[in-house]
Symmetry: C2
Subunit: 343 residues, 2 copies
DNA sequence: CTGTTAGCGCATTCAT
DNA sequence: ATGAATGCGCTAACAG
């Protein structure tokens, strides 16, 4: 059905291997034959069969991306960026969604390995470190992102969440806020822990006593934000600002504030973590700490490609990279009148 | 490095072909050997190599999904559903994003064909009908979705946009609205045309004279909604309701109404097309016509799988499927007091 | 620089 | 029911 190397070779009256070399581009053939074969191949509409090539070379031109979902805005951006970058390099992306579930992650990794992916970008659950390490040690370069799998020593690209949360909190403090609530994700995740840490550090440095009642740790769901927000607004001493460091929770927080008739930022300042297109369109436009999903994805691709090229033995020290967070101020935070803003 | 069929065969003291048959499951081996080989394979951790198998069988266990982006909520759902369904059937999804660009679509289709995908689900741009037809006629079953490529006769799964737009418009009419604006997508798309048609039909049936000034045709971007909304609100005779049938435009519409201090639904009723998670969390919760992205995706997968199984000659009549739209009323539309609601 | 040969891992035909 | 042999399309030694 489809035209093979053999067809091209016959048409050109050369051996299959000559055809292979001429088209393979390694310069292993005379410029003449190279041009001639290229032309004939084009005329015949020859397209190399990656499967056959893969069987021989052990490579597939396939790269796996394993993420938790496509609801989270960061994952959407990551998937788009990774696929765009890879396409330009003539790789194809196998997108796998494993819902933060260790069992699914395990199965998916096995299947991806079966398919001989040339590399893997993974947002790990943290429960399959051994498997990841084995794959990487084997033949599949792996780059982790967003979360660190504590059981591994793999190359990892992370957001600088300690810094991001610190910068965000400091911004609110600078605006004069003293009672700053934090809604943050599960503490068994890198981001959950680090954002809480950054928040605490900023408070400490500002000499603000920490208040457990202002901190709500929850899941990555809108409902978490609703529950947290109700709890916070029912406090005797309400917070004047809420830092929603758990992206998915924003929806719940916004809903509850609307239901209670609170105006943002007049009655309550709101700062969120991770951008999503509608934050900028929302009125008031929502200020954020941008964790840099796009740059994170680009860096992960860079690192992975590097690992793939440098088929060399990986030095035992797998590096960890951090992409700095950026504060993007829009209109959802206001300065408290009674205090002179600092910094 | 990895354990092959040969290893299993040797360990079991049988020939490679026996091993292949025993594990292949076709019942071509005695129940005894079958069990024994299965056990040994498991013990050795044997996993068949899809690339080798693919070279032999001409199949890859790969299925391509070609969509425009991951920003649109429907595409997100489609990608998630397709990948989940396929994974369960031991297929892998090659996700390709071609941004509604014919050139990219062309290249991507070629690459996907190179990789010998076993099937393809495509949201077509409409400019590469010949290529799609050729692929489908060749060896790659194709199912189109969301949009119809007029130059082809491929199996196509569409939303019932004429009905959806009709139902939505009728709902607003029933609420007593007479000046109903429509923001809708480009007319060179299936959904753009059909939603406009459905809207017009509902108006006509209700005996409401169409008003060109109330119809805004634009691109699939938030900005379209902003432009449209400003234009509509500046009209001498303002609409009492806006039907935003162009999903991406909602952001712009919401922004402009907020800036003008309009309360929804008191000052203006708002009905949107296609659901997205935050519509339900938004206050007021936004009423929608749900085009059924999830069911659309499931049906597309069903049809594709069917085509793949039935390797038979496709009857020349490729069928078109429609998934009905559903009105989901929440809180963004109100009944006009002066009129008794009908139907 | 080019042709010949071998083999990647597996499914399948043909014998037995 | 099983074994031996063949080839999918391509790359990579190895010769010449």
């Amino acid at each position: 059905m489809s035209v093979t190397l053999k067809d091209v070779a016959e048409a050109a009256q050369v051996s299959i291997s000559t055809a292979s070399r001429a088209l393979g581009g390694g310069g292993l053939a005379s410029a003449q034959t190279q041009q001639r074969l290229t032309r004939i191949a084009r005329e015949l509409g020859y397209r190399p069969n990656p499967i056959a090539r893969g069987l021989k070379t052990g490579q597939s031109r396939l790269i796996g991306l394993l993420i938790h979902n496509l609801t989270n805005a960061s994952f959407q951006v990551i998937a788009e960026v990774v696929q765009a970058r890879l396409k330009a390099l003539d790789y194809q992306m196998l997108l796998c969604i494993a819902g933060d579930d260790p069992q699914q992650e395990r199965d998916t990794l096995a299947t991806l390995a079966d398919h001989r992916v040339d590399g893997l970008i993974v947002v790990p659950t943290g429960k399959n470190g051994a498997q990841l390490t084995a794959l990487d040690a084997g033949d599949v370069p792996i780059v982790c992102m967003i979360r660190r799998d504590e059981d591994t020593n793999l190359e990892t690209v992370l957001a600088d969440d300690p810094q991001g949360a610190y910068v965000g909190t400091r911004y609110l403090i600078g605006l004069g806020h003293r009672r700053i609530a934090l809604v943050v994700g599960r503490q068994d995740t890198t981001s959950g822990r680090e954002r809480l840490a950054g928040y605490n550090r900023a408070l400490r440095e500002a000499g603000i006593a920490p208040d457990e009642a202002l901190i709500h740790i929850g899941h990555f769901e809108p409902e978490t934000g609703a529950v947290a927000c109700r709890k916070l607004l029912d406090l005797a001493e309400r917070p004047s600002a809420i830092f929603v460091a758990n992206h998915e929770s924003v929806l719940g927080v916004l809903q509850v504030t609307a239901e209670r008739g609170l105006t943002i930022p007049d009655d309550l300042s709101l700062l969120c973590y991770e951008d999503t297109p509608w934050f900028a369109w929302h009125r008031p436009a929502i200020s954020i700490v941008d964790s840099g999903a796009r740059d994170l994805a680009n860096l992960a691709v860079d690192r992975l490609l590097h690992r793939i090229e440098a088929r060399a033995v990986r030095a035992d020290g797998a590096r960890e990279y951090r992409v700095g967070a950026r504060l993007v101020t829009r209109d959802s935070c206001r300065a408290l009148p009674a205090c002179e803003p600092k910094a």
